[in-house]
Subunit: 207 residues, 2 copies
């Protein structure tokens, strides 16, 4: 069978097709890198209309990444989708606490989601860079902790997916005056969240 076998050729060709098919837009070059990578990850051109990139959000994200940071993700899937070589080159690391035993115990005792208990731990740890691909409850909880002045959050990717609370969680977080990238409405997900992190890292380092 005849098929392209070189990974970088496949990605390059994919991005060309996406560029051809996505039609007219007002994105600048860096925004476009994010939008295209999300479409590449989902094969869904709807993301062209629902990814919201706040002014200066990319600058802030890159500035945090460049100084080396801990990225908190709400799911192990998002964590696993983040390019580890790029992360290492940036002297950054990524963590997720939902499978943490202590977190599971606290969630059980308090009748809250593990995602919520996990975000509390991340906030205690002083995390500045947050990535949400799944859990509306975690995003709601982060907003509460920010309003209480407890969080050091400086940049947020808000992309919870789903039918219960996801859209609302993103509307709520957008009310904060913080650099952020969100996916509006029901869509988003761990793959999308990881794709946004990767797009940002690839603006600074080669893979």
């Amino acid at each position: 069978m005849d098929y392209i076998k070189i990974p970088m050729d496949i990605e390059k060709k994919s991005f060309e097709i996406i560029g051809e098919e996505m039609g007219p837009h007002d994105f600048n070059e860096r925004q476009l890198q994010i939008i295209k990578r999300v479409i590449h990850t989902t094969a869904d051109f709807d993301y062209k209309n629902i990814v919201y990139i706040r002014e200066k959000a990319i600058d802030e994200a890159l500035s945090i990444l460049k100084k080396g940071t801990t990225i908190y993700t709400d799911t192990n899937m998002a964590l696993s989708g983040i390019n580890k070589r790029a992360l290492k080159k940036l002297n950054c690391n990524a963590v997720c606490y939902v499978s943490n035993e202590e977190v599971a115990k606290i969630a059980m005792e308090r009748g809250i989601t593990r995602s919520m208990a996990a975000i509390e731990k991340a906030v205690e740890d002083g995390v500045e860079f947050f990535v949400f691909g799944n859990a509306p409850t975690a995003l709601f909880r982060l907003k509460e902790l920010i309003l209480e002045g407890k969080s050091k959050a400086k940049f947020i990717i808000g992309a919870p997916i789903g039918f219960v609370g996801a859209a609302e969680s993103k509307e709520e977080i957008e009310k904060l005056d913080l650099p952020m990238i969100t996916v509006r409405g029901r869509k988003g997900g761990s793959s999308v969240a990881a794709a946004i992190v990767n797009a940002l890292m690839y603006m600074i380092v080669e893979r």
Copy 2:
């Protein structure tokens, strides 16, 4: 803020909404569990039209899962999305070789994708249950190995996503007379592939 904080309540409510919004269909109860879980994972009702479940594929998948098996996934993201508690209850395990050092070395030497080299190792290991969420090249390679009589594949989830080769890889694998579930066209992905595995496992075991 007032929001649902109990994970199982959130999922139950989500599935109700999906059922209400998805409209008329001809799926039976087990097929519907797969379709709904995929929509739950993507917030994309298009999956109602593009998930292809071959006759007896569910029976075969459940029969393999019940005897305890190794599930091969083409990405660490798909691996990470598979419910580990359900897997353990079934006495099954899941593996992915794309980060395997030996596999990376072989891919580099031969100028092929790591996904292709990884599938060769899985085939050598005698894997029967294959899950593809990302790599068209791996699915093409598996078909070649099956035609050469080298693979013991008994059930395939074919859900590579993307713009180069993804749709074609699924058309090719469908030509084989094997129990399979595929996602037609460009869509699919690691989250979708993992959701299908989970839907199958939840037909047999509680989470």
